[in-house]
Amino acid sequence: MEKFNNILSKATPIHIENIDTDQIIPARFLKAVSREGFGDNLFRDWRYDNMNNPIEDFILNRADKTNKILVAGRNFGCGSSREHAAWAIYDFGFRVVVSSFFADIFNNNALNNGLLTIKLNEKSLSKVFELIRENEKIEFNVDLENQVFFTNNGSFNESFSINSFNKTCLINGYDSIDYLNSKKDSILQFEKLNKL
């Protein structure tokens, strides 16, 4: 996993609620056997029509491709457990997803891939959408160490929570598998005690 560095970036807003993982990456694109390349099909059926022509007014086709922050309505990532959804968002270039509510499995998948999820309250999320609507060039800072999401001119400043284990993993690029492997003695002990 790559280290998570602080970010200053414009944001891409998708003002839709209950975005499920079938929208993020439709099932017919899950046939690859590696993790790379899913960004091409991120939001495929919202981005392209059935003749594979880009749908011009969909935000992903209009917004700056270098944006690192995706902002979406509540209950983002519901549905399937497919980690391909997190890979597709990351592969497209995003490093942060901001919403007022994340589905549990998506949230774990994102953090396991160095994709930070920032949960804001409903009012703050509306404010973020509003600021982007007023000025699509507005830039947001993500400071993971201090757990704040803010604009330089002070028009927005909110702290966010993350448990210290996930935070340490993200900042250092640590991986849960390395961690679990370091715990093999405890696992063997547990198996012995429980006659597994």
Partner: protein, 465 residues
């Protein structure tokens, strides 16, 4: 006296290897199920790290998401699908994992074969790279879906890092009306609490209505726990559970079974156990259900009108959803003409589901203009259906009785509903494009689906029983 515990607490605590302060617990996993779509990158990860599978005997593989449901004996035409299945075969061989691949007598949808082979047992922790792993909670196990990085964790260490979720009790009491099935119960609950109402929780279902259900009906309920956002759902094991598990391929036998049953009987919530949330429903309020929107929370009683306003969330998202479906607020779905009927998926493809549908259509014909597909959940279900002559009942009525797999539930294979076509489906998700780009899904019970196929329009089964 000990602190009273919920069923969830008891199973969870028995599997905690260690706890990380302000972080997740290390949770030991008893059974790990894998399939072709969410496992290849996990094996790739193991290869890159030079790791073995830590406990290969605790993982079982099958091929289901991406398999054709016709001519399974022939090589798979599409290159990417074929490659994914070949990759699964190679990974299982290289890492010493038992595989019930295409053509094997135990092949089938991962959440159908687990219970029917006795892999699923009370008190276990069970995970799979598939959100409907919650199905196995019907046996009083903690079962939930995980991502591919987590699949790799389990392969590497037989453990997962998990934060303990909050607990929710959903109690349903009373007798069900005729024509109302477990699918209607779960669609009713989700319509009441929304597709995100269970997020952050692990649900326990209880009450006299739940106790009265068969194991297969309980599986349908637990299966769709994820559709309210819950990590999983579970039901305390009882005599029905023990009877179901006994004499299955992987079940303990003899004295081992008796000893297990003694332990399994302790897996009930203590009388004063505290839940973070409690919801109660009355079975008499539940009617045959159908969905009208693009998430499973957008469901209603089959005779109701589509609401004007969403139960939660914005009007914009609600309108976008109805617009996709080509439906309008204030209109009925009853008697609406449909194009496809799909009976299958990990929610409703077991023997009981097929029997209920077959009983209704026996001697009838599907409506002209309707394509009706029946996809048994496993090779064993397919075999039993043939032995009982159920396949013939479907075929005589003009249904296609195909071979096992996930099929049109997620349309990864060729089983796709065309753009703007309406499908009454026994599956679990009505998301945009879920059954094929532009497809319009209405979720319902197997009986509602069967009756709708015969009439060619959305049907209230109570008119016929």
């Amino acid at each position: 006296m000990n602190h009273p515990k919920t069923l969830f607490d008891k199973v969870w605590e028995a599997h905690v290897v260690d706890e990380i302060p302000d972080g997740p617990s290390i949770l030991y996993i008893d059974k790990h199920l894998i399939h072709e779509v969410t496992s290849p990158q996990a094996f790739l990860g193991l290869r890159k790290r030079g790791l073995k599978v830590f406990r290969p005997e605790k993982t079982i593989a099958t091929a289901d998401h991406n398999v054709p449901t016709l001519n399974q004996h022939l090589p798979i035409k599409e290159e990417l699908s074929r490659n994914q299945l070949n990759q699964l075969t190679k990974n299982c061989k290289d890492f010493g994992i038992e595989l019930y691949g295409l053509g094997h007598k135990y092949q089938g949808i991962v959440h159908v074969i687990g219970p029917e082979l006795g892999i699923t047992q009370p008190g276990m922790t069970i995970v799979c790279g598939d959100s409907h792993t919650s199905t196995h909670g019907a046996f009083g196990s903690i079962a939930f879906g995980i991502g591919t990085s987590e699949v790799e964790m389990v392969l590497a260490s037989q453990c997962l890092l998990q934060k303990k979720p909050k607990t929710m009790l959903i109690e349903i009491n009373g007798e069900l009306q005729k024509g109302v099935y477990s699918k209607d119960i779960i669609l009713y609950i989700i319509s009441k609490i929304s597709s995100s109402g269970g997020t952050g929780y692990f649900v326990e279902y209880s009450g006299s209505t739940i106790s009265s259900l068969s194991m297969e009906a309980r599986m349908t309920i637990c299966n769709m726990s994820i559709e309210m956002g819950a990590r999983g759902g579970m039901i305390a094991p009882d005599q029905k559970t023990f009877d179901y598990v006994e004499n299955k391929k992987f079940s303990p036998d003899g004295i081992d079974f008796d000893n297990k049953v003694k332990y399994w009987k302790s897996l009930v919530s203590d009388s004063n156990a505290k839940y973070d949330k409690v919801l109660k429903f009355d079975a008499k309020d539940i009617e045959p259900m159908i969905t009208y929107g693009t998430n499973p929370g957008m469901g209603m009683k089959i005779r109701d009108k589509i609401p004007e306003l969403p139960m939660e969330g914005s009007k914009d998202s609600f309108d976008k959803s109805l617009n996709y479906m080509g439906l309008k607020s204030g209109t009925h779905l009853l008697n609406k003409k449909i194009d496809y009927v799909f009976i299958g998926s990990c929610t409703n493809s077991r023997m009981e589901d097929l029997r209920i549908a077959a009983k209704f259509i026996d001697g009838k014909q599907k409506a002209s203009g309707v394509s009706a597909w029946v996809i048994p959940g496993s090779k064993q279900v397919e075999k039993m259906a043939k032995e009982e002559g159920i396949d013939k009942i479907f075929k005589n009525a003009g249904f296609e009785f195909r071979q096992p797999g996930c099929s049109a539930c997620l349309a990864m294979n060729d089983d796709k509903i065309p753009k703007n076509k309406f499908c009454v489906s026994t599956s679990n998700r009505n998301f945009e494009g879920r059954q094929g780009p532009g497809s319009r899904t209405m979720l319902a019970s197997p009986l509602t689906a069967a009756a709708t196929a015969v009439n060619g329009y959305v049907t209230d089964v109570r008119d016929y029983i």
